[in-house]
Symmetry: C2
Subunit: 334 residues, 2 copies
């Protein structure tokens, strides 16, 4: 059986060029012991993948040039050599960027029975959702009385962070760019703030208007002017959960950081980076709390869907141009 997959041909500097992603195919070997074969239905593309394209050690190993790329995926088992996994089961796994995956059965997770569409397990109920929950609760220790600021607030992670904070009773400000994203945030009860064409000082002033009592928790996805503006509005004892800094992922040379980092001292504030994988043992707590709310429509989510395996690189690259509202997905059809 043939598998079609993407490989990376170069470690890019700056925004990766489309032609650095090469669609290839291979005849799959016979199933090894414990292996399963999966027909993927949904592929995830996520900003963190840019970090695997640098060739440098980060918190995950870089993609190997010329080898199948990896990423979150949802699919149906079509053959199994694993005692506990049967053909026909739906699973989530890391064999993305391809149509047919062949992976160790121990590395896949069966999807729960639920009324939630299966692809939600790549988004609001998957890694991005767990990231929002972890950053807000375990890193920023968000309390109901907090004033909360979220950058990239309409993205896969941010849009759950704002809703979880609203559900706690927090006053929530969300930073986004496009008008329809700001409108969506407003419909969620979030104070929307645009970063477009604004200096750090102008963005800071806009945040101040949207949260007159300052900021106690900042959920950081962006960096750049968003971070500088947020630092200026911190309250004493503020907590910044640093999930990512997408602003810098494609920087061709190092971009300077915020000029007002000493606000951490003035405001006795904490700024802490985290990687969701380190907290995965809490995934069941996240799912217990959030899945029912998603099933009941109390937590909403959006998806931006590209069709067909061939569109995977475009879907990935669009993440850096604000091309997604909510979770960016690739839908595969037979």
């Amino acid at each position: 059986m043939q598998s079609r997959f993407f490989t990376l041909t170069h470690y890019p500097t700056g925004l990766p060029k489309r032609e650095f992603f090469s669609l290839e195919s291979q005849e799959l070997p016979d199933l090894g012991e414990g292996e399963v074969r999966i027909r993927n239905r949904w592929l995830s593309v996520d900003p963190y993948m840019r970090g695997r394209m640098t060739g440098l050690r980060t918190y995950v190993a870089p993609f190997e040039l010329g080898k199948p790329m990896e990423g979150g995926a949802i699919g149906e088992v079509i053959a199994s050599n694993h005692p506990k996994i049967k053909a026909g089961e739906k699973v989530s796994h890391m064999g993305g960027w391809r149509d047919i995956a062949q992976v160790p059965g121990d590395s896949v997770t069966a999807l729960p029975n639920s009324d939630v569409p299966e692809q939600a397990y790549l988004g609001v109920l998957g890694m991005p959702g767990m990231t929002a929950w972890t950053g807000l609760n375990l890193i920023a220790e968000c309390k109901p009385s907090d004033n909360v600021l979220v950058s990239a607030a309409s993205g896969a992670v941010g849009s759950l962070a704002v809703q979880l904070a609203k559900a706690k009773g927090c006053h929530v400000v969300g930073i986004a760019g496009a008008a329809h994203k700001l409108a969506w945030l407003e419909s969620l009860g979030v104070e929307p703030v645009s970063y477009k064409d604004r200096s750090a000082q102008e963005l800071s002033d806009a945040i101040k208007l949207a949260s007159t009592n300052g900021i106690d928790v900042y959920f950081e996805n962006v960096g750049g002017v968003c971070l500088e503006a947020a630092l200026s509005q911190l309250n004493d004892g503020a907590r910044i959960a640093v999930c990512g800094m997408i602003d810098s992922y494609n920087a061709e040379k190092p971009a300077p950081g915020p000029s007002n980092l000493s606000q951490l001292v003035v405001r006795k504030a904490k700024m802490q980076g985290f990687i969701v994988a380190d907290h995965w043992s809490s995934y069941r707590y996240f799912l217990n709390e959030v899945a029912p709310q998603v099933a009941q429509g109390k937590i909403v989510y959006k998806e931006t869907v590209k069709e067909g395996l061939g569109s995977t690189p475009d879907a990935f690259l669009a993440l850096f141009e604000g091309g997604n509202t909510g979770k960016m997905l690739v839908k595969l059809t037979d």
Copy 2:
């Protein structure tokens, strides 16, 4: 009785000019109820005072222009209208930048009986020492197995931070400039690293050589290239205690921050600012631990002493030019 004191005439931009400090005098009023009159013997000048010269809210109120400046001081009570304080007692208090202070008795602290020279209560056993202890223990949660980096390591705060970390059993690297400071650090068992004429990359390489197993705890007093270099060498789970960023205190315009702040995510690191006043309830624990070691000579300290009230501004300004080893003090003589 006359009191001579310094006032600030302007809120400076950049390094304050010497002439912005004006020496004035006034006839003191009669002692009010509960007040004490103190002949100061030692005055403290500290980098944090620059923050009180901005006219902007920080964690302490700004100095009022034309009013006596304030700061740590040690002196002898020469008159008391307070039931618990007697003339002849030695006290520490905040009525510095002057020769004779008249302050509420409730705001002064009697010096303990000890063999340690009285001025140590402005340094190694006072606010700077407590700052080092707080940052290392309460903020950075330093453990014996940690590799510790300290910037401004030969200063009043840094020189105690390195010794406390050494006493725990840590591998300790200290950043300083002048050769005699580096030599002193080496004599304390600290790996000395010079920041002079080094880019962030070059300083990072030097830190790597001095701590081949990376950095678990960074005690930050400086900012600038020191912070950028330190971020590049962090281990997973590193903790940065941000005590201050003296590099930026006299910046005439905002200086860019480090370009590699996303290392906080990659290394899942925490960066936390703190103000020692918030932790003052732990001062007795600090004193119980550190005072005996100072008395026994197990913890050493240096002082840089200027003579006479008139030299106070010069002593203060020298802090920003590396003019001190250890604690900068002004000694008053009758």
